[in-house]
């Protein structure tokens, strides 16, 4: 059977670092980028005698995420120990949730070329992150270094059902999930720094089958592109194995960024026996109904709902709505500007065009723009009324962006106002036509390509500030078209 006769089956496990100020079981800071082992204490160093105390913010974030993903939030969940030896795991076990996680059975709706698709979320649980082992040049030969700043940073693990059917769906799910977590303010969505990480479980089965094939777990997928490439490579690999009469083995495989292949990291036989058991140092976690209801009431509008509302409320095309709602601050700013703008679609064009360009150029975000929604409305009004040309308005916006000065002041001080007074423009048109009698004659005789010459003469006489619509209108009228 060719590749096209196989159906890939994909599920994702996402680890999202929570944006709490302190770690999950001690008071240490979660800030990124400090000197190695700077944010540590006896608890997260795993010294003898220490005990974990749960950071309640972590529970709040987990509940918020669970509700946003339409999960059942459990009144009681249980902490477990996952036992394994590694130098960056100070206690020799990770405190996590195993058979009784805080959230179960949710869903995330994503867009696919075939329309909406529901991806089921099997579970969400809380756990502590491990530290980092450093084997690079900062360590001398034969040595490894351990940085425990990250040890104890709170994580949510979000596990999907194997509902995804190709690499594009997987990428779409991961992007949508990331958008949701960022909207909720629980995660910064940074794949490169590893605060938003993804493993993929991939298998293939003959099309039409309902029996899943043997799955492999793919790791080291720290960008959307790598996720897509790794899945595609892995699907082709598994199909090759099956086609050549082999069996896909249950194993963990690492995405090799440089070679563009997945390679075996450990087989089923080498898999750890984590010896999970209930964490005796923490009582079962009880989440009060009141917290669940309070959190539900305070949930923000989520990306998908916002996108749909942008389409219906502002009459925007899907493309615009998606880009505008991709990040909450941009969407919020759009909504702040909309009442002041003459037209939502034109406002959207400015957002997705000039404003996005400026933000990118300055490497900044919308939260740091200096102008107000009212000022942007004024600028767009000026364009609408012909007070300023679109090109000039772009310059004005740039100036507003940098200085926060009022558009009217910028237009005046830079002399960017257009002449839209009919009498003034008509006088110039008349003067130009009078001076160019022979050209007028040739034009009327059929040499229509002289039209541009007249426009050019008028604009030259008006130093480029004539309202082009008005200039055209008057020229055509006077030339008798």
């Amino acid at each position: 059977m060719p590749l096209s006769d196989f159906q890939p089956v994909i599920g994702l496990e996402v680890h999202a670092q929570l944006l709490t100020h302190s770690k999950i079981f001690c008071g240490c800071s979660t800030a990124f980028g400090a000197e190695p082992n700077h944010h540590t204490c006896p608890v997260c160093l795993g010294l003898p005698g220490v005990l974990p105390v749960l950071n309640q913010r972590v529970v709040e974030f987990a509940v918020r995420t669970g509700l946003a993903l339409e999960c059942t939030v459990k009144g009681t969940s249980v902490w477990s120990r996952k036992n394994y030896f590694y130098p960056d795991l100070p206690k020799g076990y990770q405190i996590t949730q195993y058979d009784q996680p805080i959230c179960e059975w949710g869903r995330l709706v994503i867009d696919t070329p075939a329309g909406e698709k529901v991806v089921r979320v099997r579970r969400i649980h809380m756990e502590e992150d491990a530290g980092k082992s450093v084997h690079d040049a900062t360590a001398s030969a034969g040595q490894s270094l351990v940085d425990l700043n990250r040890a104890g940073v709170p994580l949510l693990e979000i596990v999907s059902e194997p509902d995804l059917r190709d690499s594009d769906e997987a990428v779409e799910y991961l992007k949508s999930l990331r958008d949701v977590l960022m909207y909720l303010g629980v995660n910064d969505g940074n794949l490169e720094e590893g605060s938003f990480r993804c493993d993929a479980n991939v298998s293939v089965m003959p099309k039409g089958s309902t029996v899943y094939g043997q799955r492999c777990e793919l790791k080291n997928l720290n960008s959307f592109r790598f996720l897509k490439q790794a899945i595609e490579y892995e699907v082709a690999r598994q199909v090759d194995v099956l086609e050549s009469g082999g069996k896909v083995l249950q194993e963990t495989r690492l995405w090799d960024v440089n070679k563009g292949v997945t390679r075996s990291m450990r087989s089923k036989e080498e898999a750890h026996d984590y010896r999970y058991f209930p964490e005796p140092d923490l009582p079962p976690l009880h989440v009060a109904d009141a917290l669940i209801e309070e959190t539900r009431g305070a949930l923000p509008e989520l990306p998908r709902a916002k996108r749909q509302r942008f389409m219906s409320q502002y009459g925007l095309p899907a493309y615009d709505a998606k880009l505008l709602t991709a990040e909450r601050p941009l969407a919020d700013f759009f909504e702040a500007c909309a009442p002041h703008a003459p037209d939502a679609k034109k406002l959207s064009n400015w957002f997705l065009g000039e404003l996005s360009r400026l933000l990118k150029e300055e490497g900044t975000t919308v939260s740091s723009v200096r102008f107000t929604p009212t000022q942007l409305g004024e600028l767009l009004g000026a364009v609408e009324q012909g007070t300023v040309s679109i090109n000039a308005a772009k310059d004005v916006l740039g100036e507003m962006f940098r200085t926060g000065a009022a558009p009217a002041n910028i237009i005046a001080s830079k002399g960017l106002a257009q002449v839209s007074d009919v009498g003034a423009v008509e006088a110039v048109v008349d003067e130009v036509l009078a001076k160019s009698a022979s050209e007028v004659e040739k034009y009327r005789a059929g040499k229509k390509n002289l039209y541009g010459f007249f426009v050019g003469q008028v604009m030259k006489a008006m130093k480029g500030k004539g309202n082009p619509t008005l200039v055209n209108e008057l020229l055509k009228k006077k030339l008798g078209d």
Partner: protein
């Protein structure tokens, strides 16, 4: 004073300090002198902190003069089992793997003792990681029983019990996971209290089995135990299993007696293997309680026979995980000349842990392994619930339960070292209390003909330390065994 200063009970010394008859520095010097005199034979101390103790005693005397005592036990010197983290003072838990480990912080109970003004004399010997019943699994040396130096003082808090019995310290703190406070107390004619699980903070106490470990006082009298519990029983936000309860006044009703109380005698606790002299002493004590106005009630704790197996699955399972952190990476022993990670782990843990600790790590690892978890760990948890329910039912009938603390008196050093099962069996009467999380007290109740101490165990309802202490005190008032000093040295 006619009797030596070191013979005073904690409360007697506290009264003498309050009356200005003696200073904390004098009391501390007396203890240090006694330690210098007897410890070469008893070997209760792993580390004597003479300088720290005297500094604390001087501060205590100064505080008393300047602003009055910080607590009723201000100035009374104490010893600590080497399981408690002490800032700046080496803490080994009786293990090679922690040799040279100097903690950067104090355990909560250590902090409470310091705040209450008690000078700390040093760290007391123990079975390695509290795993043992004889102090023979200490990586350093065994402690000897002051009543018979050829015998063990029991364990794992054997150093604490021996030091209290030998008048080296006025009192001590121990920990009890399966009887480690009560059994050595019984073997040394001292008082040992294991409070209810959650009553005393475990923060800064090196973990053996987290769901069973509990800190408690080891003293010469029940009243001293009550006074010391008063200092350390405190809700601790740093221990999530610490009970958020007010601390009662443990001395208030201590002399209330037992008149009208129903005291349960569990038939399963008087077994065939029991030493006849131990049984006789305990039976006599039961009679005494009847004479004092209590009613004895025959009760049954039907799952008792499963306690040993349950304990030896759950405690090692938790221990196997708790001891994973001793890996040579961050502190303590690190094996030299190793190549690669696996060898670092293997050599460090191979060299650092003793035989009993390795045995329990392997037992626990096995009990938690895939394919065995349901049959061992999970089954044991279910039996633990049944054992707890046994007690719940019994306490519907009775106010407390009485039994021997240990079925046998102190055994000889070396006698059971090569027979772990018979060693484990000596804890058979103390283990169920830990599995159920209850308070348990051991009170001296006599001696065998050979002069070996016998202990009476009092088990109470959860958080009824006051009741347990009152019952123990009622007997102690009639029989001041605690006045007897050990013959040696």
């Amino acid at each position: 004073m006619s009797q030596p200063l070191t013979d005073l009970t904690m409360l007697e010394l506290a009264a003498a300090l309050a009356a200005g008859k003696v200073s904390s520095v004098e009391a501390t010097r007396a203890s240090l002198a006694r330690i210098a005199q007897v410890d070469p034979k008893v070997r209760a101390f792993l580390r004597v902190d003479e300088e720290g103790a005297l500094r604390a005693a001087e501060a205590s005397d100064a505080r008393r003069r300047a602003s009055g005592p910080a607590s009723p036990l201000e100035g009374v010197p104490l010893g600590l089992k080497d399981i408690f983290l002490t800032e700046g003072l080496e803490t080994t838990c009786g293990s090679r793997i922690l040799q040279g480990f100097v903690p950067p912080y104090d355990a909560t109970v250590v902090r409470l003792l310091r705040e209450a003004g008690l000078p700390l004399l040093g760290k007391l010997n123990m079975d390695e990681f509290a795993m043992g019943s004889s102090n023979e699994s200490s990586a350093y040396f065994p402690t000897h029983n002051p009543w018979d130096l050829s015998r063990t003082p029991g364990g794992s808090s054997g150093g604490s019990a021996a030091a209290v019995a030998a008048r080296e310290v006025f009192g001590a703190l121990g920990t009890d996971t399966g009887g480690s406070i009560r059994q050595p107390a019984a073997h040394t004619n001292t008082v040992g209290l294991k409070p209810t699980y959650g009553r005393v903070s475990r923060f800064g106490v090196i973990a053996f089995a987290s769901s069973l470990d509990q800190v408690g006082p080891m003293t010469r009298t029940v009243a001293d135990a009550a006074a010391l519990l008063q200092v350390i029983a405190r809700h601790d936000p740093r221990d999530s299993t610490s009970a958020p309860l007010e601390t009662p006044d443990y001395l208030a009703d201590l002399e209330g007696g037992v008149h009208g109380l129903k005291l349960g005698v569990p038939r399963e606790y008087f077994t065939d293997g029991m030493d006849p002299e131990v049984e006789a002493s305990v039976r006599a004590a039961l009679k005494e309680y009847e004479r004092l106005g209590a009613t004895l009630v025959d009760v049954s704790l039907p799952h008792t026979s499963h306690a040993l197996a349950t304990y030896y699955l759950l405690a090692p399972a938790e221990a196997s995980s708790n001891l994973a952190r001793y890996d040579g990476v961050r502190y303590g022993l690190r094996a030299r000349d190793v190549r690669g990670l696996q060898e670092l782990y293997g050599q460090t843990r191979g060299q650092g842990f003793g035989a009993e600790v390795k045995r329990r790590i392997m037992l626990g690892t096995y009990a938690l392994s895939a394919g065995y978890y349901d049959a061992y760990y999970l089954r044991a948890q279910k039996v633990r619930t049944l054992i707890r329910e046994d007690f719940t039912r019994a306490f519907q009938q009775v106010d407390a339960i009485l039994s021997p603390t240990s079925p046998v008196p102190a055994f000889r050093l070396g006698e059971k070292v090569d027979d772990p099962l018979s060693m484990y069996l000596t804890d058979i009467l103390t283990l169920p209390c830990n599995l159920a999380g209850l308070p348990g007290l051991s009170v001296p109740c006599g001696f065998t003909k050979a002069g070996l101490p016998v202990g009476l165990q009092v088990l109470g309802r959860p958080f009824d330390e006051a009741g347990v202490l009152r019952i123990g005190r009622a007997f102690e008032r009639e029989h001041d065994f605690f006045r007897r000093t050990p013959p040696c040295p």
